[in-house]
């Protein structure tokens, strides 16, 4: 950048024999092109890639195939199993509400809710088209709205206003929040005049979840899987670009903000809102849900096969194959991101299961989780996306 360098180049340009040099250059370039063509032809002949270049892990088709066949579809299958158990337990409860059916329903709900955390991140393809997330897990539950919907069996469950009146948060309220004791809750579904309508609403909510889940799974197992693995580009409509965008958005908005940032007041300009925790009516479940969701994000990053537990082609291996690393320390970007995930996890491990209480009594520790996760968000959103040459197109709405 020095002036002298500039001076030298300018002088150089004035040299008379530049033209001759350039003529020579054309000649050499021609030879070079011929050589290149030969290498090209050899390469096409199926020669092994240069040792040390991890081109296998740069194959986005292989990555997408692994993600679809060994992570996304099996995760939906696992969720299906837990969901079906919950569905029959809820049907049994709706048919004969009593302490036994209530306990069974709760247990099944809890397990299905935990399993849901492992599929919520697939906000791509069928899950995105059917806006599954909005119908399964928008919280806090809209208690007034649920009452309105119970009174009106024809109420539209597809409106944005009814997002918080259905799904797991609504069920949370309906089985954990409608009475102070289990007896009161059973009474809520048996002795009052609205009991029948209330039981019907549980059925309505779980039926709707069931049909949505069925659609999403069928589409993944139908034509979408092939279309997903065939869009191997990196343009805005490609699978990898959509996946990265939905993945980062999920982590930023629904894990970092939804589970920690908003309830703790680390966002929203400092307003502490413990009542906005996930599973508000089963408060000791909140942290488990958050940890499960976080682990799902980490496992997806590393391409952990849901069936075998082994890692496969993933964002992590793709980044490493691309050579993304911090040149000052020599650490790969994938290692750094995993280290940051571990730092977030350590902060979560320091919390008690009841997030609501933690926010009320130990809020700084909850905010610390948010802060660590925010560091991971930046690495995913800026470092990872840039290294992959992917544009983040979703709009963050941190402020709302």
């Amino acid at each position: 950048m020095e002036q002298s360098a500039l001076h030298e180049v300018l002088c150089f340009c004035l040299l008379k024999d530049l033209f001759n040099m350039l003529r020579q250059l054309v000649k050499n370039t021609t030879y070079f092109c011929v050589m290149l063509a030969i290498i090209w032809a050899c390469g096409n002949g199926g020669e092994e890639p240069t040792p040390g270049t991890d081109t296998d892990n740069m194959d986005r088709k292989a990555m997408l195939t692994h993600m679809a066949d060994n992570i996304i579809i099996p995760s939906y299958d696992n969720f299906r199993v837990k969901f079906d158990v919950m569905k029959s337990a809820s049907d049994a409860f709706a048919a004969t509400p009593n302490q036994t059916t209530l306990t069974a329903f709760r247990k099944a709900w809890e397990e299905a809710y935990i399993e849901w955390q492992k599929v919520e991140l697939f906000d791509i393809g069928p899950g995105e088209v059917h806006t599954m997330r909005y119908y399964f897990n928008i919280y806090p539950a809209d208690v007034q709205g649920i009452a309105t919907n119970i009174a009106n069996p024809a109420s539209d469950l597809e409106l944005p206003t009814s997002f918080a009146r259905q799904g797991f948060p609504a069920l949370d309220y309906l089985i954990n929040g409608v009475g102070a004791t289990d007896a009161e809750i059973v009474d809520y579904y048996t002795t009052t005049p609205e009991a029948a309508a209330r039981r019907a609403y549980i059925k309505r909510v779980t039926d709707r979840m069931n049909s949505l889940l069925t659609m999403v799974i069928n589409e993944w197992k139908g034509s979408y899987r092939d279309s997903f693995i065939s869009k191997t580009g990196l343009d805005i409509s490609s699978s990898t670009s959509n996946l990265v965008n939905s993945y980062v958005m999920h982590f930023e908005r629904y894990v970092r903000s939804g589970k920690f940032g908003i309830p703790s007041g680390a966002m929203l300009n400092g307003v502490v809102a413990p009542e906005k925790v996930e599973a508000f009516y089963k408060k000791d479940l909140s942290l488990t849900l958050a940890k499960t969701a976080h682990q799902a994000v980490v496992d997806f990053f590393n391409g952990k096969n849901v069936k075998t537990g082994e890692t496969g082609p993933s964002f992590s291996s793709y980044l490493t194959a691309l050579g993304a690393k911090d040149s000052s320390t020599g650490k790969t970007l994938a290692e750094l991101i995993n280290a940051q995930f571990a730092a977030s996890k350590a902060k979560m491990d320091a919390l008690q299961p009841n997030l609501y209480n933690e926010i009320k009594t130990n809020n700084q520790a909850v905010k610390d989780v948010y802060t660590e996760m925010q560091k991971a968000v930046r690495m995913l959103k800026v470092d990872m996306a840039s290294a992959m040459s992917i544009t983040i197109t979703y709009v963050d709405n941190d402020g709302d």
């Binding site: 350039l22 003529r23 240069t50 191997t232 930046r378 470092d383 963050d396």
Partner: protein
């Protein structure tokens, strides 16, 4: 010099250039319009980022469509050579106005087109094979001063050569950045796509691209190398069109490089077109020399000397600023620095006042995604945005709001880090041409231009 100023040359190359340039620009405008970009880029945004010192350029709202219509029409008129001087001036003004509305959309090739339009106003590109010349036999000429053609070639040479000089840096040559990031993104192209996975291919492309830019003006100028050079132009720009989302630019350059071809080549094009239009011999071959008033000839030549001197100096103005150019971007624009950096970032703003009011800004309430993306990595835009926020929150009842930027930016594969000092209240900083002290030092070195 005296003699050079009075040398004449065939008017055919300039005429062909005028036609192709006008038509391509018209095509560009139609394309822009049909993609809905006029609304998307110039009407939809609530706020804009004007250039320093040119803040009088304001967005026009719905009238932007009229501006584009004027621009497209004048491009067509230039191609036809009808009301040429007026059309060229209108084209320059309307096109440049559009480009000055918002920094977000700054592209070097728009700047190139803008400058080319400026030059065309003063060049007699309409004296041959134009509607003006058809209607006015006195204007008709098939010879023009040689410098009128040479300035166009020289300007194209400037673009390539400076683009090549800018590539003489350690990131480009020694790290193969940013091509190393960009090329594997296309490894799914049929047949040869897998090659883009290899680092050596990124090096090959980097070095070849650099040598290409530095040498192509000379190779095009030299008759014996010209066919090869033009083939390289087509291959090079064809490749960039395939690999990068750069719109019309490759086609503009492939067309512009024709200017280097011989008079005979262009004459054949004109003769072909002339036959199609059934023009008479004296219209195709007026056997007349276009002469300016000698005084005007000198004045214009002087103006062009100043123009090129400015073009020569502008790309080096970055030397007046401390810090790494790619990081601070002080003196980055208007310098033919093309496709040099992969920069991405995320910048979050906090606004607060003495009374304890505090808000973390949701950027999407103020900016379009494209604006936010460009703003996040460019300090001058960050400052402009901070002032937008300051003014907005003053209206919202904040008492002398302070604005702080929490930024995280990655450059050519380096791990992200803050671009802006998070402790500096940007509401109090002003835009000037002097160095911005609140840009965080780069903490690494990129050697070279």
């Amino acid at each position: 010099m005296q003699r050079y100023l009075h040398t004449t040359t065939s008017a055919a190359p300039l005429a062909v250039f005028r036609i192709l340039f006008g038509l391509l620009l018209l095509g560009g405008i139609v394309r822009f319009w049909s993609y809905g970009w006029i609304y998307e880029l110039y009407i939809r945004p609530k706020y804009f980022f004007p250039f320093y010192g040119l803040e009088f350029v304001k967005p026009l709202g719905e009238f932007t469509y009229i501006l584009f219509a004027v621009c497209g029409l004048s491009a067509l008129l230039v191609a036809l050579g009808l009301f040429y001087r007026l059309a060229a001036a209108t084209l320059f003004l309307s096109f440049t106005y559009i480009e000055l509305i918002d920094k977000t959309t700054y592209l070097n090739h728009y700047y190139f087109i803008s400058m080319m339009c400026l030059m065309l106003i003063f060049l007699p590109a309409h004296v041959y094979f134009s509607v003006d010349a058809y209607r006015n036999p006195k204007l008709r000429a098939d010879q023009v001063p040689a410098w009128c053609l040479d300035v166009v070639k020289l300007f194209v040479g400037f673009l390539y050569f400076f683009a090549g000089l800018a590539k003489l840096n350690s990131d480009w040559l020694l790290q193969a950045q940013p091509l190393r990031i960009w090329l594997p993104a296309h490894n799914d192209l049929p047949v040869a796509g897998f090659l883009l996975n290899y680092t050596w291919v990124a090096y090959l492309f980097s070095w070849f691209g650099c040598l290409y830019d530095l040498s192509i003006p000379f190779l095009l100028w030299n008759r014996s190398t010209r066919p090869w050079a033009y083939a390289a132009v087509v291959v090079f720009h064809g490749l960039t069109a395939l690999l990068f989302p750069i719109g019309m630019f490759p086609y503009v350059m492939i067309m512009t490089a024709l200017i280097f071809f011989s008079a005979g080549f262009h004459q054949r094009i004109i003769n072909f077109l002339g036959r199609m239009l059934r023009l008479r011999g004296d219209q195709l071959l007026p056997r007349r020399i276009y002469r300016m008033h000698p005084a005007l000839n000198y004045v214009l030549a002087g103006v062009f000397v100043v123009f090129f001197a400015t073009q020569l100096v502008l790309p080096f103005r970055y030397l007046l600023y401390p810090g790494e150019l790619f990081w601070t971007e002080q003196g980055y624009r208007f310098s033919w620095r093309v496709m040099l950096i992969e920069k991405a970032g995320h910048t979050e703003f906090t606004v607060r006042d003495q009374a304890g009011k505090k808000v973390i800004v949701n950027n999407s309430e103020f900016l379009t995604p494209l604006q936010e993306k460009m703003m996040a990595t460019q300090p001058d835009m960050i400052l402009q945005y901070a002032h937008i926020l300051r003014d907005y929150y003053t209206q919202q009842g904040f008492d002398r709001p302070q604005v702080f930027a929490d930024s995280y930016v990655t450059l050519n594969g380096r791990l992200g880090r803050p671009l802006i000092d998070p402790e500096v209240n940007l509401a109090n900083e002003t835009e000037t041409f002097s160095p911005k002290s609140w840009i965080t030092p780069f903490n690494d070195e990129i050697k070279g231009f």
